[in-house]
């Protein structure tokens, strides 16, 4: 009996204290909770606001990237422009090809072009480095005349060092006497 009373008494005490404690804490907790809630609410609101913005931006970014990829793929298929042996003047077909490339460049101003000049394996290697440069300069000058900004055009010559077709015959040589277009995104 006495033991039970003792236990009861302790329990009552604990209960009482905890009520007191809880009463005090409760306020704080409530306050805390309120604070938390407020913070949470604000966070939730902010998040909601963000969520409203992000998808749209993300979508835009996504389309721009996809679009860029698509455009680059399109440009990778740009036809080469061909030349006669030891010549760097543009024939009718070459000029037609360049007009098409120029149209594309005018409509897609975020891209630049590297004009690679190449030669076939005949003739002197050193002279061909100069001839390849001259071929790419010919193309650049024509594109400038069609209104492409000079800052978007870079020339580089590889002479006879990087043939498209390594065979030793006129069919291969004709393919190698070319200016090849490498379209890249603008360097900012």
């Amino acid at each position: 009996m006495k033991r039970n009373l003792k236990i009861a008494g302790i329990l009552l005490l604990v209960l009482g204290l905890s009520f007191v404690f809880m009463a005090g804490c409760a306020k704080k907790e409530v306050v805390k909770e309120e604070t938390l809630m407020a913070q949470d609410e604000r966070a939730a609101e902010a998040q909601a606001a963000e969520k409203e913005v992000l998808p749209q931006e993300q979508e835009e970014a996504q389309t721009t990237l996809e679009e860029k990829e698509r455009l680059l793929q399109e440009a990778a298929a740009f036809a080469d422009v061909y030349f006669e042996f030891d010549k760097y003047d543009l024939n009718t077909e070459a000029r037609e090809t360049l007009r098409q490339h120029a149209d594309w460049l005018v409509n897609n101003t975020e891209f630049e072009v590297i004009l690679e000049g190449h030669c076939d394996e005949r003739g002197t290697r050193e002279y061909n480095l100069a001839l390849g440069e001259r071929r790419s300069e010919s193309v650049r000058d024509y594109l400038l005349n069609l209104g492409i900004d000079t800052g978007r055009l870079t020339t580089i010559s590889y002479g006879e060092e990087l043939p498209l077709d390594p065979a030793h015959a006129e069919e291969a040589w004709a393919k190698n006497r070319r200016v090849h277009f490498v379209v890249v995104t603008e360097k900012k």
């Binding site: 030891d86 005949r122 003739g123 002197t124 290697r125 050193e126 002279y127 480095l129 100069a130 001839l131 440069e133 001259r134 300069e137 870079t154 020339t155 580089i156 010559s157 590889y158 060092e161 990087l162 030793h168």
Partner: protein
């Protein structure tokens, strides 16, 4: 490479002979008949048996070196009638009649001693007709320096008979190409000691030696544009020399070593410039909307030969070093390029289109004496002169292989520099005389 070890070959003048035959036969003349020379096996002067067969090693190596110069005809050993047990290696022990009777004009006698890794060898060159000693040397070294001893003595023979040393102490730099990348290599005149100089993982073209043989200028695409660099061969340090937009094509160094010729396209089209390597001052020489490229210095540095298509197709022109007095040099053929001016002055070798292929031609500075030098099926291109003006190295296309070949300046004695390079060998450039040994 055991270049350091070579320094320890000691040479001693056994006989100070005045330079023999002051009237030298013109070995560059097309009428020149090669010197007939006999090279019998060397005599073992030591006490131990010749287990290493050095007797034959010496004579074979010497015959090969003499043959490589293109100025000697080696008499077949089977024709020798001398009694080897009786004859010695000094003038008083040789019966010169045994040699003149088999048609040789020159005789080389040699002896060696080999013990405990030490090798010594004596070489004597005799004139068979007079029965006199022309030049002699003794060398000390190790077994793997036999070739060097032999090449040194060959140089002494050439000096005595022709007035000028050999080119065994020179190298050829070239571009070795595998697939889409290429690097610069150097190799000895005899095809030994192939060394890779650059490691660019891109195209590396047009090597040109500095006049002291310590540096190489070249053009490389390692920064995605043909730019001009100079590499120091002692420490492989690379300096950027020219990085203009467009072409920065390497060219030969001036005879005084202070300037370099280059081709740039930065001013709108391909023109030739001189760059002073000290002051960095750039001087433009050509001023023409045509392609101007491939310059080469005259040996006195007063004129420059170059290629221009200003008259409709690529031809060779000559101008003064200040760009004035431009005149056309080549009128034969519709495509003439790659001029290289002989260090001896009057002759320019170049590449010209001939009957569907490209071959090497030589022409005098005044346009006379036009000669076709090569008749190779696959064609020859990019000639470069040896520093003594006696040889031309070039790139040849034969059965699909592109290799460096060497030819005497009279068009004879064509030799492939290295048969098994495993890559296309192009853009050769001949070094000045180097202190190799």
């Amino acid at each position: 490479m055991r270049k350091i070890g070579l320094v320890f070959i000691v040479t001693v003048l056994l006989w100070s002979s005045p330079v023999w035959g002051k009237i030298y036969i013109d070995i560059n003349s097309p009428a020149f008949q090669r010197f007939p020379v006999a090279v019998p096996d060397f005599k073992n002067l030591g006490e131990q048996d010749d287990t290493k067969k050095l007797s034959i090693k010496f004579s074979n190596s010497l015959a090969e070196a003499l043959k490589m110069t293109g100025f000697f005809r080696i008499i077949d050993k089977n024709a020798f009638i001398e009694n080897r047990d009786v004859a010695g290696i000094t003038a008083d022990t040789v019966n010169f009649h045994d040699w003149s009777i088999i048609g040789t004009e020159f005789l080389i006698k040699g002896g060696f001693q080999y013990s405990n890794e030490n090798l010594s060898a004596e070489f004597r060159l005799f004139g068979v007709v007079e029965g006199d000693l022309i030049v002699s040397r003794k060398y000390w070294g190790t077994l793997d320096e036999i070739k060097i001893m032999v090449q040194k003595f060959t140089g002494e023979i050439l000096l005595a008979l022709t007035g000028e040393q050999s080119v065994f102490g020179t190298k050829i730099a070239f571009t070795g190409k595998k697939g889409k990348t290429s690097d610069i290599y150097t190799i000895n005149f005899d095809g030994s000691d192939l060394v890779k100089i650059t490691n660019n993982k891109s195209l590396t073209v047009l090597p040109h030696w500095s006049r002291d043989g310590k540096q190489l200028a070249y053009t490389s695409y390692r920064r995605l544009n043909p730019d001009l660099y100079v590499i120091d061969l002692s420490n492989r340090k690379v300096k950027t020399i020219s990085r203009f937009k467009g072409l920065n094509l390497s060219g030969p160094w001036s005879p005084d070593g202070s300037k370099i010729l280059l081709t740039l396209s930065k001013d709108g089209n391909e023109e030739i410039y001189i760059l002073d390597l000290e002051t960095k001052k750039l001087n433009r020489l050509t001023n023409d909307p045509a392609i101007d490229v491939s310059p080469t210095w005259s040996p006195d540095g007063s004129k420059i030969a170059f290629v221009s298509n200003r008259s409709g197709s690529p031809q060779i022109f000559v101008m003064n070093v200040d760009g004035s007095k431009i005149r056309r040099l080549t009128y034969e053929g519709r495509y003439n390029t790659s001029p290289s001016w002989s260090p001896k002055g009057n002759v320019i070798v170049y590449e010209g289109a001939a009957n569907g292929s490209f071959q090497l031609f030589s022409i005098a500075e005044d346009g006379s004496n036009f000669v076709q030098l090569t008749f190779e099926n696959g064609g020859c291109e990019y000639p470069t002169w040896s520093p003594d003006g006696r040889y031309v190295a070039f790139s040849s296309r034969e059965k699909g292989k592109i290799r460096i070949c060497i030819i005497n300046s009279n068009g004879l004695n064509l030799r492939v520099l290295h048969e098994k390079l495993g890559m296309e060998a192009i853009y050769p450039s001949w070094s000045p005389r180097l202190q190799l040994y």
